[in-house]
């Protein structure tokens, strides 16, 4: 994130200056990203110091970060979400949301096939009805439903 702030700072310096006395388009992002670099370095410095003194621990839940678990469960859900976004307007809301829910429920640990099918179907249909009929916000029907 510090590197991102540095990149934003460099990018800001390339923005054209204003013709008037007012700071140009790059001034404010330069100011903010400069502050970001300073704060990022403080956080980085403290983390490095804590690592060096072997005092670092997860303050959120008192357990070490279980990155393997995050990747194993969170990774496939993110991929499923990306596929859902990709398919949303192509195959329509009903099919894409049903497929997404089935995958998500399986990934989240639900094993009863009938319940997965029932929850996915009810949720998809319920949300579709809510948006299309109650809120008058039409969701894409996709090529399958014309």
């Amino acid at each position: 994130m510090t590197a991102m702030a540095a990149a934003a700072f460099l990018w800001s310096t390339t923005l054209p200056p204003s013709r008037t006395a007012v700071p140009g388009a790059g001034f404010y992002p330069e100011l903010v990203s400069g502050l970001g670099i300073v704060l990022g370095l403080i956080v980085l410095g403290r983390a490095t110091w804590a690592l060096a003194t072997r005092q670092r621990h997860d303050e959120t839940d008192g357990e070490p970060h279980d990155w393997l678990r995050y990747l194993r469960i969170g990774g496939p859900i993110i991929i499923a979400a990306a596929l859902f976004v990709f398919a949303f307007e192509r195959i329509g809301f009903l099919l894409s949301s049903f497929a997404f829910l089935v995958v998500a429920l399986v990934l989240l640990g639900e094993r009863r096939a009938w319940l997965i099918a029932l929850v996915s179907a009810l949720l998809s249909a319920g949300v579709y009805f809510l948006f299309n009929s109650v809120l008058q916000l039409p969701l894409p029907r996709g090529s399958v439903f014309g």
């Binding site: 994130m1 702030a5 934003a8 990018w11 923005l15 054209p16 204003s18 008037t20 006395a21 007012v22 700071p23 140009g24 388009a25 790059g26 404010y28 992002p29 903010v32 990203s33 502050l35 970001g36 704060l39 990022g40 403080i42 956080v43 403290r46 303050e59 959120t60 970060h65 279980d66 678990r69 995050y70 469960i73 969170g74 859900i77 993110i78 979400a81 990306a82 859902f84 976004v85 949303f88 307007e89 809301f93 949301s97 997404f100 829910l101 998500a104 429920l105 989240l108 640990g109 639900e110 929850v119 949720l123 998809s124 949300v127 809510l130 948006f131 809120l135 008058q136 916000l137 969701l139």
Partner: protein, 512 residues
Amino acid sequence: MLSNLVAGFAAILNFQTILLMLAGMAGGLLVGALPGLTATMAVAIMVSLTFGLTGTTALAMLLSIYLGAVSGGFVSAILINTPGTPASIATTFDGYPMARKGLAGKALGLAFMASLVGSIIGIVALVLLAPFISRAALRFSAPEYFAIAVFGLAMIIGISGKDLAKGAFSGVVGLLIATVGLDPVTGVARFDLGNVNLLGGFSFVPVVIGLFAISEALYQATQAGRASQVKQSVRSIFPKMSTLWLHKWLILKSGVIGTFIGALPGTGADIASLVSYTEAKRSSRHPELFGKGAEEGVIASETANNAVPGAAMIPLLTLAIPGDAVTAVLLGALRMHNLQPGPLLFRDHIHQVYALYAALLLGVVMLRVVGAVVLPWFARIMNLPRPHLVAAILLFSFVGSYAINNSVFDMGAAVAFGILGFIMLRFDYPVGPMVLALILGPIAEDRMRTALVMSQGSWAIFVTRPISAVFLALSVAALVFMYRQHRNIAKLERDMQRAAEDLDSSPEAGVE
């Protein structure tokens, strides 16, 4: 004022609005009761669903969710020692020990009634104070608004959680994200990556849905199967009125503390409840009972945190400065429904303002009715299967982010910000400061540059105009105050954790 209030009630007393408020209230209470689901998440998702409603109805519903979610947080705080929302952290200190002693029903009843009184105190303050502040704010121009925005940004430190540097850094990232798109003054494209969708910047609601709802759902997903389920049952949540009367001064004091803190931009219900709790303990005749099941602890925390929603609307409506993340989302909702908060709102849309007051007041009455019916059931609902809940949140988040502009790009942005929010949560970076910065950043930049045009490039304009100078001085003072407050609260939490560990090692258990 009275005739405006009557007109306000007339605007919301229709079948559709009342039905949506009831649904919003029940949904808010449920979200508040479920650990991990926050008021901000609920309001962010629901903003997109209100797109087809009138502004008054939509905001009445969103305010009901807000009231319900802040109020419902005490249920899980008392029953399973896990605050449903951060606002109820201090309620766990004594609520859970009461439940362990078999007094869960009493603790819930006290919390419920305290939350109602707290809500009323906050709303009364809003109705009485907002007109004066908005009238004074009519004389403000660019330098003053810049100084107020800086004041709001300085308050980010108050919602930074355990690590101030990380909170500030999160705020800076929010400020940078807010600069994406065409520069409002010169029209130069900034950080657009050559993508036309980014020329208008990121849409606020999809970003907020990603940061609060999707990130939290991802977190809950990775915790699937880990959370222990504690079975609880509660028959009634009606406390004796004599018990409440006994604590009348504590309730009043806590309500005033909650109102004062809630009205400060950048604070929030969690800080209000912790400060109120600390004060209740300091002034108690039996401070040694705090942390071991003291009724005063529950009352102080819940009165103060529920005074915040009404009070937080004061800077939001009068100065367009959100008090915390959830009011930042509400600000987005107001703009979406063509209501621009600020002093002009009170001049040009006074009926809508009073309709909001009416919605808040009616919401408190509904809270009493809906809460009495549904809260005992929520003890059971908390045992719902998490996979179904997480999947539903994800689906609503995706569709909600799409529905704002019918844009798949927005949906993709929500997923991307969900991943960013998840990573931030895992590394203890609070997302609240980022959302606050997203709202205040554009105001600060725009007003700063307008002021510099006024002064022909002289920065002295910010310190030579008295109101601007006062707010800039207040920003510095607030930074110092918040820093000291942060240290005090951290100390209190350490003490309470020690007390809770002592309690856990004791053999007492059971709830009514």
